[in-house]
Symmetry: C2
Subunit: 223 residues, 2 copies
């Protein structure tokens, strides 16, 4: 297999990120490409969740992945090996988030191969990525059980901008003080419209619901 | 009890953070105050670790805590209720890190009460806090088992600047694919001098070693 493509992302020079993000969304709409911005803390299970979910939908729609990381290309390699779909690595050079222009630099370098769905795995960080519209059609995030049910109280912006919250690692609920109902209530405080899906990327539990959400959203976007 | 003091931190206007940080360290040395900058991902167990460790040392040295958070004052309240030591909350107003000037704003507002040790609990984030010297004497971080043993590969700067890495939640090692030896090796790759201490804040396991490290460091600093 060829080595995974690694793009060194350059800092944006555009002043108006919101405008640039809207412009990118319009282009994606025209091309019929649905872009999902997936965010989380470090170690919440983004890559494992993606691998299992992509394998559930890759025969139904064409999927590509852009993995953003400060360094290393382990995630892009993992994704490609485990799913066979096109996957590139974006190096942010120490930057803590992606904005619309940086996302565009990634999209210009990924062989979309007529992709219906491009998933951007943002830098593991609950703070900065929430502040920058990437141009994605939808924002989703993963909160894992070991992080605690109080995270929507502490990272309000992140939860308020996400359309979907996956609560991952529910297999370890018995060993952690994590109240799923309380967590849902906190998420609703920040964003009454956000959908919360409990999942376990390790066993696959709940990922059919995430896969269905993706399929529905992509179909809606391509209408 | 009085309500916990909440300080709204203002963005720094100082251009040279490194210079400001060195200046702050010199002042702290003169006053005999040891400042520890404690960093981690969201939900790694910083507050619980602090509570149990402070209770091990508070009869030997005088401790105060500054809790940095984007919003909410739950951590400062928890620390004060569980330990009885002075504790204030710093609101960063959405900012993802603290620098030396912001740390100084906090120190100016905490009643140090002749503190020997001030612990700054930084914003939960493995990226940005690593880029800004807070003026602390030592940097420490917590990596929790559920986050995965590969984090030193993905967040190189954070691990390279930390003098101490606490590996927390070792009680759940049986339920996660986390190789402690591999993790130590990765930490050493980033920083050969860093000390790695496996702990469990929930049960207290290993925290006596963290407490002893703090006592030794404070004594050394006050010489």
């Amino acid at each position: 297999m060829d080595p995974v493509k690694v793009i060194e992302i350059k800092k944006s020079v555009f002043a108006d990120n919101d405008k640039d993000a809207d412009e990118l969304r319009r282009e994606l709409k025209k091309r019929g490409v649905f872009l999902l911005n997936l965010m989380s803390s470090p170690g919440s299970g983004k890559t494992t969740t993606l691998i299992r979910t992509i394998n559930l939908i890759k025969d139904k729609i064409r999927v590509a992945v852009m993995e953003a990381d400060i360094d290393s290309d382990v995630d892009a390699v993992k994704i490609r090996e485990a799913t066979g779909i096109p996957s590139i690595q974006l190096h942010t050079g120490g930057m803590c988030h992606l904005d619309a222009e940086m996302t565009r630099q990634g999209l210009d370098n990924v062989d979309l191969g007529g992709a219906d769905l491009v998933i951007l795995e943002n830098v593991g960080n609950l703070v900065c990525p929430a502040e920058f519209d990437t141009g994605a059609v939808r924002n989703a995030m993963i909160l894992s059980v070991p992080e605690g049910d109080d995270k929507p109280l502490k990272y309000p912006l992140m939860f308020s901008i996400c359309d979907l919250v996956l609560v991952n690692k529910i297999d370890v609920l018995p060993w952690f003080d994590f109240d799923l109902e309380k967590c849902k209530e906190y998420v609703r405080m920040r964003n009454p419209k956000a959908r919360v899906l409990p999942v376990c990327a390790k066993t696959g539990e709940g990922l059919d619901a995430f896969a269905q959400w993706l399929l529905d959203e992509v179909r809606e976007w391509k209408r």
